[in-house]
């Protein structure tokens, strides 16, 4: 177990290092931030001073070296556009994104798994077919367009819900949360539904496929032959076996929900870190782009680790220590 954790941590660090080089070099190639940040009236000495102040006069490897030295001590550079540490900027925006992603994931899991179960148990019934048709629609609807249509329907035509922002927030441990106020919920619900739709369809399909494959297995036939009740077969035998891939996907997809929040946040002007990324790309705010990516990569590495651990807890055949043994 300890050996597994150590190996995974080393591997994760290598991935982080490789990604940081790729991203750093890639982002370095984008335009010249000085052109955007300094007014065109500035004379050459002012430009030079700004270039030195931003550290852009040093060669690329030296800039990267400085960046890594800083990153180890928790300093990911200072935002060109905002003048504050990039890490602080992103951490300030992170709760809004995580809140949105959590609510979206809860919606997807809470609705998707029961619907998938129904569709899998009755693949040829009317309800099963309707659920599957609905999931194809949910799979096919482009997220950003659904967002626009939700705004059109609920904010413009019906006037029930606001179209942008986080609304009123209440603080816990110095961080503001929208889900603690009624006004916050009215702002949260549309973006959350928007973000959940794709994962909801994915979970329906995954659950249905798992149920269909499990029902054909010998252990289900055997359970039937033993005369177990249908609810016990589904609730205990089928569900337990199909939960393994589903938990994996829920875990992995959480990271993708955080990444996809970029789109939903842009549509609903939700002040999360995804919107910050788009804004930063538009003004070539390199430190923020690089910091965002490193944070997202770390998040993914962490999630993957959690998924592996959950996997071993659910499936006794998986022995984490023996990965290299066979």
């Amino acid at each position: 177990m300890l050996a597994f954790l150590l190996r995974r941590l080393t591997q994760s660090l290598l991935v982080l290092l490789a990604m940081s080089v790729l991203v750093f070099v890639g982002v370095y190639l984008i335009g010249n931030p000085v052109d955007i940040l300094i007014s065109s009236q500035a004379d050459q000495t002012e430009r030079d001073r700004a270039i030195v102040a931003l550290g852009l006069d040093k060669p690329l490897w030296a800039q990267y070296g400085n960046f890594v030295l800083g990153a180890v001590t928790g300093d990911l550079g200072r935002s060109f556009a905002h003048g504050v540490p990039a890490l602080e900027l992103i951490l300030n925006r992170m709760p809004a994104t995580l809140e949105l992603a959590f609510v979206a994931m809860l919606l997807a899991v809470g609705i998707g798994i029961p619907l998938g179960l129904i569709a899998g148990l009755r693949p040829n019934g009317v309800i099963g077919k309707t659920i599957m048709a609905g999931s194809i629609l949910g799979f096919s609807l482009p997220t950003f367009w659904v967002g626009l249509m939700l705004i059109m329907l609920f904010a413009v035509f019906l006037g029930w819900l606001p179209s942008n922002g986080r609304g009123e927030t209440r603080e816990i441990f110095g961080v503001g949360w929208s889900f603690l106020t009624a006004d916050g919920w009215s702002h949260l619900i549309l973006p959350a539904v928007n973000l959940a739709l794709f994962k909801l369809s994915l979970l329906i399909r995954l659950t249905r496929a798992g149920v269909r494959e499990a029902l054909a297995m010998d252990y289900v036939k055997f359970a039937r032959a033993k005369g177990l009740s249908a609810s016990r077969i589904v609730g205990v035998h089928v569900l337990k076996n199909i939960m393994i891939p589903i938990v994996t996907v829920i875990g992995l997809e959480f990271g993708s929900v955080v990444a996809f929040a970029v789109v939903t946040e842009s549509v609903f002007a939700w002040p999360g870190m995804g919107k910050l990324l788009i804004d930063s790309i538009n003004v070539l705010d390199r430190p923020v782009i690089v910091a965002y990516l490193l944070i997202i990569v770390s998040l993914f590495v962490f999630i993957n680790l959690l998924v592996d651990l959950a996997y071993s807890a659910l499936d006794p055949r998986v022995r984490l220590g023996d990965v290299g043994a066979h």
């Binding site: 890639g26 629609l137 609807l141 626009l148 494959e213 970029v262």
Partner: protein, 297 residues
Amino acid sequence: MANAVQAGNSLWREKASEFAADRMAMFGLVLFVLIVLAALGAPWLSPQNPYDLSQLDVLDARLPPGSPAADGGHYLLGSDEQGRDLLSAILYGLRISLGVGVVSTLIAVTLGLLVGLLAAYKGGRWDSVIMRVVDIQLSFPAILIALILLAVLGQGIGKIIAALVTVQWAYYARTVRGAALAEKNKDYITAAQGLGLSAGRIVLRHLLPNCLPPLIVVASVQVAHAIALEATLSFLGLGLPITEPSLGLLIANGYQYLLSGKYWVSFFPGVALLLTIVSINLVADQLRDVLNPRLAK
């Protein structure tokens, strides 16, 4: 040899009739063919050339669907902020969206196929290096990789195709490698090796055709993803430039008028996008059931 070819044909024919048995899938296929025809026939079908500025009248800007046009026709789906007939703009936008999606998928399939076969056939160090790269790439969501690439590369049709290829190839490489590994140890490959056939011939003539079914399933799903991803990136302002308005860009143009109730500028291009993706997904769904050996009757 002739017998084998015939057996192959009848297998495909059997799969085709299995495919046709599902009404939803056939509906999807017909819809998709119609959409492709509409996109190809855009210059003849559309009432107006949306790129020809001399045909546009700014006085006709943002008219609701069905409004009469100055030249005697009608704006069936309304007009946009430059007085452009939305139906025409959608037909032309469809060409770009479909073109970008299909071209990027074809390139990515070819790339993934070659890399996947290489990994499976060579094995050893080739395999572990290639698959490590694939695994790392697939642990990140496609949209994130595409966003970063376009932030680095800038706008343009070639650049967005490059981004979509980068995002997709790993799926195909992994699919093909998996299929090829399963096939590699079967008797017909051993027999071919025993006959002394060249490695290239074994891989291309014997291994490759048997890796195609799973590849087709993945590719059919991925085309739809590529089209949706291009639309999303264009909507965010990172995809295609304004001179080549794909459906995503048309939707983005209508965003600012949505809050004042002028829904059609964003609504109809979105419906066109949706129908395209739904039709592909319906076909892909049935392809997966037909080509999945685990569900074979």
